[in-house]
Subunit: 416 residues, 2 copies
Amino acid sequence: MMVDDALKAAAHINASRLLESVETLARFGAREDGGVDRPALSPIDIGARRFLIDRAAALGCTVRTDACANLFFRHPGLEDLPPVMTGSHVDTQPTGGKLDGSYGVLAGFECLAALNDAGIRTRRPLEVVAWTNEEGTRFQPGAMGSSAFVDPALIERYGRAQDSDGISLDSALAAHREAFPLLQTRVVDTTAHAFIELHIEQGPLLELANVPLGVVSGIQGVRWYAVRCRGIAAHAGTTPMHARHDAMTLAVAVRAEIETLAYQLGGDDTRITFGRWTVVPNSINTIASEVTFTIDFRHPDAVVLSAFDRQLADCVSRHAVTLAALFTHAPVDFAPAVIQRVADACEALGAPSRRITSGAFHDAMYLAKHCPSAMLFVPSRGGISHNPLEATDDDHLVLGARALAHCLVYLCNEAP
Amino acid sequence: MMVDDALKAAAHINASRLLESVETLARFGAREDGGVDRPALSPIDIGARRFLIDRAAALGCTVRTDACANLFFRHPGLEDLPPVMTGSHVDTQPTGGKLDGSYGVLAGFECLAALNDAGIRTRRPLEVVAWTNEEGTRFQPGAMGSSAFVDPALIERYGRAQDSDGISLDSALAAHREAFPLLQTRVVDTTAHAFIELHIEQGPLLELANVPLGVVSGIQGVRWYAVRCRGIAAHAGTTPMHARHDAMTLAVAVRAEIETLAYQLGGDDTRITFGRWTVVPNSINTIASEVTFTIDFRHPDAVVLSAFDRQLADCVSRHAVTLAALFTHAPVDFAPAVIQRVADACEALGAPSRRITSGAFHDAMYLAKHCPSAMLFVPSRGGISHNPLEATDDDHLVLGARALAHCLVYLCNEAP
């Protein structure tokens, strides 16, 4: 029985083995403050990858890679059908924690081990993936591995990206091939049956709602802009207020107007942040001649994002300031059938869950273009993320892995 | 007749000689953009000083220096009376112009030359001074020379000040002594009869009023503060607005409140500037954890400045942000009798003038503690200052020197 196997797999999730694996992987790039600093394809990351490859081999999985050094760990299926995929990334922010990305990969590994322990064979293959350079810290942009998996043409451009030492992604990929010369290449000959990414929430909503599992229905769209306001530098003591052209006075007025229009358009789902400020000449006794600030606006509704674009253009035109678009991504709606499987898995385990929209980007944002996809979140204590203090209760980590196992086995076994 | 001599001296101001001297001095530290970069006591500044010393010697003046390398160029008087002093500084901002400071010194020199040309002997000596390090660019604080002249005890602390290369003022003063080993030391055995500083306005008021001369009645008081606002760094995409502690949101709210209270207290004379901003971590997609901004508040009324201090303390306490006092100076009221002499000189020349409060600091701020002092301003084109584009019409430069000559001779000859 499929459903029985799904429950059986969930029941074979070994809590201590899962939690130990988190601690073991965190040793690769461990920071003194308890966090992790593991740049993509660095020697530290290659050490972490060797650990994963060795463990997968011990679990009887085949291990393959691709042009962007993504790692695919496959548990064979009974039939020659497209795989069900799960996974995340193991690179971190410079001041990252132990869970962001790594938890999703290690929970996938724990599912592989649970299948073995329970003696379960699934109809479809189950493939755990570690995507390369999700954080975008060493090489820009982020999510290189997952986006290049979905659109292999991207790899040519990505290859020329350089890190802060001038090392290209191409060189880093060559070093990766040298480190693992025996790895076979995975050919993308078919789309996967489904992709599920398990991740920490990186926000406070599940904790505030006191709910241990989040069924992620999509990812917010985002707009990144830079607004440049020009003034005229002048002496703070000698220039009367009415004769000033203070770029900072202009910038805070424009910021306030943009904030208001963001709320008006977006309501409760609005996320608006003015995070980076550059002031020229940035002197106590000189009126600012130029202030540039960034906008990070996110919303799950594409109509709201477009309206924001239009009204922002009107706003900057009214104030005669300059607008530069830095980045844009449309909202992602995950596949209703896969969302439902995730929700069903939570229910089957008797675990409370709620629908949630992801505020952060994830590899699943790109996988959603390849195959039916969804995500599962566990709570982040205090909503803290990209920080050595990032943490999730052990019970939540284990419950997330159980729900993932249930969902993956169900998907692996469902009728084509 | 005293008044005749004052008019005669004014009439002997040689426009082309004055304007040429401005261009000649500007060659010491000339910038490619037409501005001047002449750090205090640098080899460039010592070159400029040598030019002044040679010119003063050619004019028959005695040249002396003191512990802070101020240079005193004295035209002897007929009687053994305290001198009338005039002058300013010849160090500049890194992106300075040709006039700030230098104009006041060179106009003083032109007065000395006019006395010679007209064959005028005054009752009191006339002393032109070049004060050391007014700008405070190479060594902090500014106005070292004039403040140490007034309070010689300051030189011990000033001596330890270091420039950005780690060179102490003491070392720079030693280099100055080596460059001019024959200069005698001026002893401050008596207070001067009066001090007048001629300077460019560095603001737009005279130009806006279309008046060529400003009779400066005092210098605004100033408060410099830094306000530090703390928040909590969090992900711009995952953190709902109601769960944020955005240091920038707090900072712009506190800034707005401070601006309002400054206007309420200070009325039209208010000068309030928030010029320097530091944002942590200053990242597009991270909510700011800390924002520090500076306040430069100036007003001619000490009561207003004190009220500002109190209400600012209440404001930061209400918002639980941190306040650090960086610098403070009380308003300076110049001596009514000297102000009147300056106004009389303008009237005697038939030149329109208006009373004005200085928004910038000047050496006269310190000299006012030593002897009856005042200042005379000429217009700054567009109010531009501390900028290679700094400029004043030739007619205004010449008129300012004529008014200075009239005023100095009148003061030199007035009854004890």
